[in-house]
């Protein structure tokens, strides 16, 4: 039985559409300056009407598979808050689009913590011998659940996908997935939620109080996010007997620039070692960490051998963190 899951390849897809701050300011009472100072976001990516989450996921997955040494994968796991449909899961639709035949498939829903929860699940599939390889994709189309008139969410959330191919390997090689520290506090579910369309408030009950959009308590979410990400990072470092001095880059869920700076400051990690990658795309929820990793690898920030501290906080509330030594990956066409 293999001991660990190891990252073999990475890819991402960000749809071409953008909604700029000036465009938003025509719809809601806000301004470019107001949004930039609070979020660090200048434009958020918007998928086309005919691009559901599965299409974003498949494009990112295809990019990762094209760089992988593996011809195919046994399982596909999609981390998403915005599945194509309530049923079935999005993962089988993605596997079919990628020609992956009868791969095992399922979705993971842990909102913005989804990629880290997915990493724990996918690496477990490999370590326990259920799969020899897994395509894990964080994919979101938040524009499908954002109220364009809501100042708390419309400037922030966006669409995109990031994917990693995981293969069986040794726990001591670069790219091996170690312990992923996960936690939650369900008593705070109201902080960020979509009320209607589930079994608690089904559409067919005819209520006048349905709300199809994501709602967020900004102040409380900000406080919870900063404290929980810091705590989980400290636990993840302790589990590996490491300290912040060992960390080359903090790659946190790209929620907003203020949270990223505050988490880095609290941890004692210099600001320049916190990866900030949201100005031109916004917060892509479960996709933000793999997109940030993929873009940092594509632009040469990550070359192989760097020690990364990954962390996320999302609706649930839920959170997580893990330490990852970045592997040397191959581009398309490389031997």
């Amino acid at each position: 039985m293999p001991d660990a899951a190891v990252i073999d390849a990475i890819g991402h897809y960000i749809p071409a559409g953008r909604e700029t701050n000036d465009e938003l300011a025509r719809v809601i009472d806000t301004s470019d300056e107001w949004i930039r100072t609070r979020t660090g976001i200048a434009a958020r990516s918007r998928a086309a009407a005919d691009e559901p989450t599965s299409a974003l996921a498949a494009t990112a997955g295809r990019a990762a598979l094209a760089r992988s040494m593996l011809a195919r994968v046994d399982s596909v796991v999609v981390a998403t808050t915005t599945p194509d449909m309530k049923c079935p899961a999005t993962a089988p639709v993605v596997a079919d689009a990628l020609g992956l035949g009868e791969a095992g498939t399922f979705d993971v829903n842990s909102a913005c913590t989804g990629f880290l929860a997915g990493l724990a699940a996918a690496s477990g599939l490999i370590a326990a011998g259920h799969s020899a390889s897994v395509l894990l994709i964080g994919a979101e189309k938040y524009s499908s659940i954002v109220d364009r008139h809501d100042r708390a969410t419309a400037p922030i959330f966006a669409d995109g996908a990031g994917a990693v191919v995981l293969r069986a390997g040794r726990p001591d090689e670069p790219g091996a997935i170690g312990q992923v520290v996960l936690g939650s506090d369900g008593a705070l579910w109201k902080l960020t939620h979509v009320k209607s369309g589930g079994s608690k408030h089904p559409w067919q009950d005819g209520s006048d109080e349905h709300d199809p959009y994501i709602r967020m308590e900004g102040r409380a979410t900000y406080r919870q996010a900063t404290t929980r990400m810091v705590e989980s990072c400290q636990l993840a470092l302790k589990a590996r007997s490491m300290s912040v001095e060992d960390v080359d880059f903090l790659v946190a869920h790209q929620a907003n620039v203020r949270i990223l700076k505050e988490v880095a400051r609290e941890l004692g990690i210099p600001e320049e070692r916190a990866v900030v990658d949201l100005a031109d795309i916004g917060n892509t929820a479960a996709a933000s960490i793999p997109i940030a990793l993929s873009r940092a690898w594509c632009n040469g920030t990550l070359r192989g051998g760097e020690t990364l501290l990954l962390t996320a906080f999302g609706a649930g509330t839920s959170w997580g963190a893990t330490v990852l030594r970045w592997p040397r990956l191959r581009m398309e066409g490389e031997d």
Binding site: T37, R38, E217, G218, R219, A220, R223, T226, R265
Partner: protein, 85 residues
Amino acid sequence: MGGIGIGDLVADLHSMASQLEIEVVDADVTEQSSFDDLGIDSLGMIDFLIFLERKYHVKIADDQLNAIDTLGDMLAVLNQVAAVR
């Protein structure tokens, strides 16, 4: 505990000024000063609140956060939770 006064809070603001990216002028700060007046937005206010929670060993509930607009509001909430501690 004798309660936290406006002077304490202004001193705390000074301690946090660089992180909050503000310049605090004592003479201008009263209980009626809103965080907005001081150039502190809602997220900066939460950064300040987390600092105060740690310093005074208190926990302010989520549902009280949206009612805080001025230094006086912050002082009232702080003293309320400190008293029941």
